[in-house]
Symmetry: C2
Subunit: 342 residues, 2 copies
DNA sequence: CCGCCGAATGACAGCGCTATCATTAGTTGA
DNA sequence: TCAACTAATGATAGCGCTGTCATTCGGCGG
């Protein structure tokens, strides 16, 4: 199979438009970017020429001349994790139609990769940056602090925002979930967690806050692993947990995948989820409600987080003073069958 | 809260590097892009200067001068759909470390959005383009045909590739799955489908191929909806199906989410998945194997698809002649408990 | 020992836009 | 009526690279 050489279609430039509209390139440029600065008559003539010629601006030239690209860099630790996928979805929905382009960077939970990606993004003079979490490496932190664009940290909250933040307290959320288990009468709550990233660690912390406050001993009821989370892993971790702490009568899972896996495994073992074993997930993905029995979880507002991150960036790009630069989205406990004792 | 004005850090340019390495900018540029053209001594001096100064090339300037950006445009219909998320994951993993940037476009299943996004991408003079499916609008088709960059269509196969293709036959895959149901002894197989996009339609076609070949009447056993797929929707569609076709004894679901929903709903109704109701999903996401009972599905190679799409683009960008410009990744039936009659 | 050749290096223009300043036209108040 | 403004438009000079030539240099055959 021969590859047909592809010929570049002739590019329509600002100059072409200017010629057709009988004006200068700079005026066309202005008409496109700040229409208010150009008289209506001229603006219309230009609009007509743009349509007729099918002019589309060259972002590279624009970026070079203005020292500012239309790229919004987005750094997330995982593309496949549905939690981040939903943040992305909100983010892409919000950016759609705006003259900006989200560019995704996948850090794969590796700080060095994150450092590198931030450097790459910054080399593009981005319009804004979205980074996940608050535990950037010192290198990343320095790069972000020196960046001459707005930056939003998402997913978590912290005392020292680089610039802006939108998220919620994982610790408080896990604490609330654990309190719920205790209130429901479970005596020996356990915690299982996969992929113990900083957010997971904070959830574990919240779990510990709750049992300490209730004067419950932790025993051997915390099982964690750095392995990436999966449904199957829920089964494995349950086995491990029950082997080392048979007294366990309720489990807070680090995330919903694990919870689902625990539920399937419990079915297999003939353990009744709810009456015999309380079960609570984290994030409240759609399947939690649909499952049978339905599974209690802590709802987090992931799409909203993506949406707000872009809104905050836009506000700053447009020069508005953002009054709140840290937004707490909170969370919501969704009690369901899996934490009903009868 | 006042926004501290952020000062732009001084940019390190090729010229700075050239000065330090005591050579010219063009030589530095060459040393970076085609090291073979520069003598080793000079190359080392340049490498040293680059490191010491922390030089990072400006992609906008490079794109402008070379009329070719390092952007690889990727168009998918949904960010949240885990199937596409996995394709993306393979794609990002493969592109990582290469001097290219994937830029994602979310068409949301709307052809007009797709047209627009292709236009936007082309305005960046991309290094390559990845588009989902083979049912582009005439406008998109024309744009892609005239594009002066390699293009890969993913997810499906078709007779008339725009340029390159990597995918599998949804029709054959669904046919195989339905044959499996029939072989297992189910007499009244049904099909339920959500979000009936072109790929779903082809799966339905494959289902019909199989029952026609087995001389089974379709009856009222096909229920579809344009609504986006979800686990909950599986429950709804099952109810609808059983209401209009109570004889149903097996179901091929358009995708795994629906299958999971059907399974939960069956539990709720006291229907035994497997013996009473055969169930088969599509794609084989991780939870299928972990579910209890485990759910039969057709495995598709999504990460691989992303990987190959990039590999094919890279080969073409590097000027290699791609011998196969259409790659069939096939599929694999994964028989499990949900299609065991006893 | 000279001219020729390929490999290595360099000079220069320009990619398509926008920041900046200059200019012109139109307005206003004393 | 005219200086002093504001609004609208334009001329110019790059932004930081790379394509395209031109130049340099050492090696080598005749």
């Amino acid at each position: 199979m021969t590859q047909a050489p592809r010929k570049s279609p002739p590019r329509v430039t600002l100059e072409d438009v200017a010629r057709r509209a009988q004006t200068s390139t700079i005026t066309v440029s202005r008409a496109l970017r700040r229409p208010g600065m150009v008289s209506e008559k001229l603006r219309e003539r230009i609009a007509k020429a743009v349509t007729e010629l099918g002019y589309v601006p060259d972002p590279a030239a624009s970026a070079l001349a203005s020292r500012r690209s239309n790229v919004i860099g987005v750094l997330i630790p995982s593309v496949t994790n549905s939690v981040f996928a939903e943040v992305l979805s909100g983010l892409y929905d919000t950016i759609a139609g705006k003259p900006f382009n989200a560019q995704l960077g996948n850090t794969r939970y590796a700080p060095e990769t994150e450092d590198e990606l931030i450097r790459v993004f910054l080399s593009q003079r981005p319009a804004g940056l979205v980074v996940t979490g608050i535990d950037q490496s010192p290198v990343s932190r320095a790069l972000l602090a020196a960046a001459d664009c707005p930056v939003v940290q998402i997913m978590e909250l912290g005392e020292t925002p680089t610039d802006m933040m939108v998220g919620f307290s994982h610790r408080d959320a896990a604490r609330t979930a654990t309190d719920h288990l205790i209130e429901r009468g479970y005596k020996f709550p356990a915690f299982i967690g996969a992929r113990m990233d900083p957010r997971s660690e904070r959830r574990l912390q919240g779990f510990r806050d709750a049992i300490a406050a209730a004067d419950i001993a932790e025993g051997d009821r915390v099982v964690t692993t750095p392995t990436p989370s999966s449904v199957t892993l829920g089964e494995t971790l349950l086995a491990e947990l029950l082997a080392q702490a048979p007294e366990t009568d309720a489990i807070l899972c680090n995330n919903d995948d694990l919870a689902l896996g625990v539920q399937f495994a419990a079915h297999r073992r003939g353990i009744a989820i709810g009456p015999e074993l309380g079960l609570c997930g984290f994030n409240d993905i759609e399947v939690m409600e649909a499952a049978h029995p339905s599974i209690t979880s802590v709802r987090t507002f992931r799409r909203e987080m993506g949406r707000l991150a872009i809104d905050m960036l836009m506000a700053r790009i447009e020069g508005k003073d953002v009054d709140e630069n840290v937004r707490d989205l909170g969370y919501a406990l969704m009690p369901r069958d899996s934490t009903m004792r009868e």
